[in-house]
Symmetry: C2
Subunit: 442 residues, 2 copies
């Protein structure tokens, strides 16, 4: 057997490259502060072709100033980027691929851009990496998708560069941690610079460059639903869920998907649920964004705790006024954390209740339909029975359905669907579109 | 249907209680700083009977000053605590139950205390909550095990209360986040107070009380193994693993358990692996603590990245000198993060290779044997095929073993065992001891 060949390579290439790049914008910086008129110039100096760039864009909060700036860099200077994004949400998230600035994408969710993503793959304008759940994508940031550059958004910064992300802390700390501690460059857009932060969500020593955006970051009010639009059928389904699932299995902790089906459940707890005598017995602990439809159940004392993935536009004052229920900081405002809420939603709740677009005869379900590539978001993470779970709860034990002495409990995973979705498309299908789509891509 | 009953209760009970408790130690504090002679008095004023107390004690880093102090509070004043601990590692972690200071425990791993835990349950000195994997326990901190008190350890603090946790950042930020943002009280023991921190790992606005311990926190050198003790059989098994599993399935990212079996694999990569022409093809990305046995593979250029759960005594300078491989901070030293490394190990690696004590005829395995309650640690989290995984890698796809059109890839989960473990106990058994133990507890 041959001896060990020791390499004579440098072990600080990432750190050295970072120093070289930051030195190029030194003349543009005051401390860590960059004037926003210089952002395009700075990005052209800080980013190199082929870099792995993680751009914050989840289904609510967007680093919109930075994504617009990235879309305006010269494709002669910056090209072939490997983008990593939780969510493809804004037009420029895809424009950069048409211009050649970016080449490949790894993501979790496409939402509004799902039709265009599908078309761009067909046209070979965009090279698809992989589609993930949120938590899975965060995991890869520490393994084989380690970023060179992070472009993220915060509410406020102080002169040292400490950040306040408040109710919309979301995935910002996770993205920054993976980048900052592997000698990547962290560029943050903030809504404002202040003398003193309400609290520090992310320490200055993780940050390289701060720019005050020309307008606040884009923030979508994703979870707000007007209860007037809840149908009688949805109310009936919600009653069936409360009676037939939550009561029957003593579901004490849970995660709900977004939409009128689950909103109806949330709203019915203090009336129908109260009538059934279920208060204090079900639905006490939640992994959920601060849906306004939770308010009646909170006010009537049903809900003990809610941990949030992100914030919700319009709910800032309410969550701040209910610190016994929500996770809030010393300043009084909500603290969310998408990664930890995904962990909690995966491992620490009795039930996941969501919605889907297609279900086959074996109960397999998918939100992938022909011509759309919407991705997964958090659902398959929360909506599977985690085989590494070891603790038990009444609901979990109640799901044991075999006599085997090694039989395990299960997480309750519920899909609430109507027989036909909008446009009279059938939900129950012979074969999932996902199979055709996958075969086509293979 | 009756109307919604609105409660008139306070929504700030946790915050109010926290303020009342902190006011009681106001005379003992200078800013956030508490003199270490006053720690027992302070704990008696800050903790209430029945509180959920999360005490940092993982398999390496121990908040030993605080656990000793907790063991000396008056059981007349503080009793019936519900302890939450990753690892039961020190004698006083159990002494507090014998004194009645604590009553119930939720934990992940018992290690050296596993025999005593088992005995104390039998004697009803200790009321068992649940046993978890690390990640699962962290998830519950945000759902139904929200702490009232966190007792944690850091290397250094500054006068404001910012913390430096350096290489042993471990689970400290996760524990603190769950406590601080739900109006719990965060008490930190530090090795020293400094003018300026090398970097900030945890912001001061998450911390309530800092005490300089009389000696540095206990830190175990858990992963250090003297290669002289590796047997010829272990070398043979390591060669079989490299050839038969890593090469065959193109395993590029992985997690190894602790012990001589996997240490032998790590050591053999630059010799046996090199001879097979596998450099750059396998074992590039790791979720692993900085085992000294990785050094030859790192030095010979095999390993691209290692993300760490925790640090490793004696490896501080080495990791600091290899920032291209390890995650390090601006100060140059390692940053670990147990929660995120567990996420990465669960979702982002091709293979988990560990060891176990018993395997039955169907391949079920367990480290629970009669008279011991060692718990799970991280193994079942990393060592299961996560059904929520959606991205593919060559190894993952290679594990498809059915023709079904919805067939999924799998994570490779490997248990390396010899037919007999130490003491000539058979590893392959008719029925796992875990079943007997579980039946006895039920």
């Amino acid at each position: 057997m041959s001896g060990i060949k020791k390499t004579s390579k440098s072990w600080t290439t990432r750190r050295d490259q970072k120093a070289v790049r930051l030195a190029k914008i030194d003349h543009l910086l005051k401390g860590k502060l960059l004037g926003n008129a210089h952002i395009i110039e700075a990005l052209e100096l800080l980013i190199s072709p082929g870099d792995k760039v993680v751009l914050e864009g989840d289904n609510q909060k967007q680093a919109s100033f930075l994504s617009k700036a990235l879309n305006e860099v010269s494709a002669d200077k910056i090209n072939g980027l490997h983008m990593i994004m939780s969510s493809i949400s804004r037009p420029e998230h895809l424009d950069i691929f048409e211009k050649g600035i970016a080449e490949k994408i790894d993501f979790s969710y496409a939402g509004a851009q799902s039709l265009r993503v599908s078309q761009m793959i067909e046209d070979e304008t965009l090279k698809m990496g992989e589609i993930h759940t949120y938590l899975e994508l965060y995991g890869r940031l520490f393994i084989d998708l380690i970023p060179n550059i992070a472009l993220v958004a915060a509410d406020k910064a102080d002169a040292q560069g400490n950040l306040y992300t408040g109710a919309n802390t979301e995935e910002t700390p996770t993205i920054i941690e993976a980048t900052a501690f592997k000698d990547g460059i962290v560029i943050v857009q903030v809504n404002e610079l202040v003398e003193e932060l309400p609290r520090v969500d992310i320490p200055a020593s993780w940050i390289d460059c701060i720019v005050v955006a020309d307008q606040p970051y884009q923030l979508e009010a994703l979870f707000t639903r007007d209860p007037r639009h809840i149908t009688e059928l949805q109310i009936l389904m919600a009653m069936m869920t409360i009676r037939g699932i939550y009561e029957r299995h003593s579901v004490q902790s849970l995660n709900h998907g977004i939409g009128f089906n689950t909103a109806a459940i949330e709203l019915l707890l203090p009336t129908y649920g109260e009538k059934l005598g279920l208060k204090g017995k079900i639905c006490k602990h939640w992994a959920l964004n601060p849906h306004p439809t939770l308010i009646p159940a909170i006010e009537s004392g049903w809900i003990e705790s809610v941990h949030c993935f992100g914030g919700e536009v319009g709910m800032e004052q309410y969550t701040a006024a209910r610190p016994d229920v929500f996770f809030t900081g010393r300043d009084g405002s909500l603290r969310s954390n998408r990664a930890m809420c995904q962990v909690a939603g995966q491992y620490a709740v009795d039930a996941f209740v969501g919605s889907t677009l297609q279900i086959d005869g074996e109960g397999n379900s998918s939100t992938v339909t022909s011509g759309r590539l919407s991705g997964f978001g958090g659902a398959p993470n929360m909506g599977h029975d985690p085989r590494g779970r070891r603790h038990s709860t009444p609901a979990w034990l109640d799901m044991i359905n075999e006599q085997h002495e090694l039989a395990r409990g299960r997480k309750l995973v519920v899909q609430m669907v109507e027989t036909f979705q909008s446009g009279n498309e059938p939900v129950f299908v012979e074969s999932l579109d996902a199979i055709k789509v996958a075969n086509k891509q293979a």
